[in-house]
Assembly symmetry: D2
């Protein structure tokens, strides 16, 4: 994984991101940190540039955030470099401008070569995207 | 669907896009047109801002382009407004800066309410992403 | 949904199944019940006929059990007849003869027309299959 | 892969199957062969035991046939033993008793370790299931 940087001011002070990922930084930035229980939580706030023509957060934006979240959730298990093999998302509800989107999830299996993740993006109590991903470790 | 606009100059003159989709326009823009056989083809050229920290096109960018492509491919069948219910992608090979990414696909079923699409993004002869999507028609 | 029947003897006494589903009954039978917390749990015991040529439970058997489990988990939400639109499974570990396979899951969204489910099949502490499904309500 | 056996009589004379796979043989048997163009085609005829409570072929039966078909389609590329990592299916139309279900597909990428397949099950002109699968080669 690239080196993470901790944000020092603003709404996401104390959260981390990976600035060397240009597409994530341009789409987000997206942020992650550990919560009180040691679980990984990721977050970003929806702006007009994240919306589709219907005024909802674009599915591609949600899947980009899901992919970011999978790497944050599985960071310790990947322990190096990984690439996404499969990413699938079920779109549950629309998210809109101003929503704070948050993802949580779990590694369902960390094998020698393949790591499986599943998670959920929500906006407060509203579920937005259910996602699963298959990540393959690659030699650096 | 929002109103499409035809590009009049540059590499993608003659291609169309949906400028009112802010996330697609910011990520891409992505373009579509009909080829000589009447099939839908979509395309964009990879720039540094599309890359992840490993120097390959970000999975989220590919899935955003796939989602755009599904709506272009199914445009006639949706015949109005649609929302993505599920989008799944298998990541076949890495795409890099300068690649022209192109997607082609087909509607595998256009039901009364649900439309199914599958397709493939490629960079020349190299397959990049195999994708499937389920779209639901919604009343405008 | 077809009418469920409660088993009265043997290992699965007190559990229910849908005998009118010929493929499930022939592959399983598979069983479901509510646990103490009111959550749906499904179960069956692996026999030699469930195995593939490598001696593990066949992926198709796991997906059949997952589909059964989705309908058990979403039974109240479907509240009538439903059909599977998409079913996806990530195969985490092999299950073998004698294992008692158990699935638990949740409805991540029950919309007016579309219901989304995700769940996990496990054999004791070992995760076997992570699954998601999209179900569409149909008029009876 | 287990050793294939060629059928010598009946509707599927000239087709092959893998009898050592107990679940496939019990669910099917399912059959495969090369067509005139060298492409892999798989097939079976729907009997009452393949149906769900609604009188359509059960989704689990279709996914079992899809998994069988993926291994037939990718047989040369796997060139040994493989296990399914992910299998996803979009259910397009219902198949019924008496239908001859046929699958065709392609390997979209055969990597050093991971093989990707996509395909379509149809009943005559009617598309039934669009499927994708990720297979990992394992050392025998």
């Amino acid at each position: 994984m690239p080196e993470a940087v901790e944000i020092t001011e603003g709404e996401f002070a104390g959260w981390k991101t990976w600035p060397s990922d240009k597409f994530e930084t341009g789409s987000g930035p997206f942020y992650y940190r550990l919560d009180a229980d040691g679980g990984v939580v990721t977050r970003f706030r929806v702006e007009p540039r994240h919306l589709n023509a219907g005024g909802a957060v674009h599915g591609g934006c949600l899947l980009t955030f899901a992919d970011f979240s999978c790497f944050a959730i599985a960071d310790k298990d990947i322990a190096g470099r990984g690439v996404t093999v499969n990413l699938s998302g079920d779109f549950l509800n629309a998210a809109v401008e101003g929503d704070v989107l948050e993802a949580r999830g779990e590694v369902t299996k960390a094998g020698g070569r393949i790591i499986y993740v599943r998670g959920l993006i929500s906006a407060g109590d509203k579920p937005i995207l259910s996602f699963t991903s298959v990540i393959m470790r690659v030699k650096s």
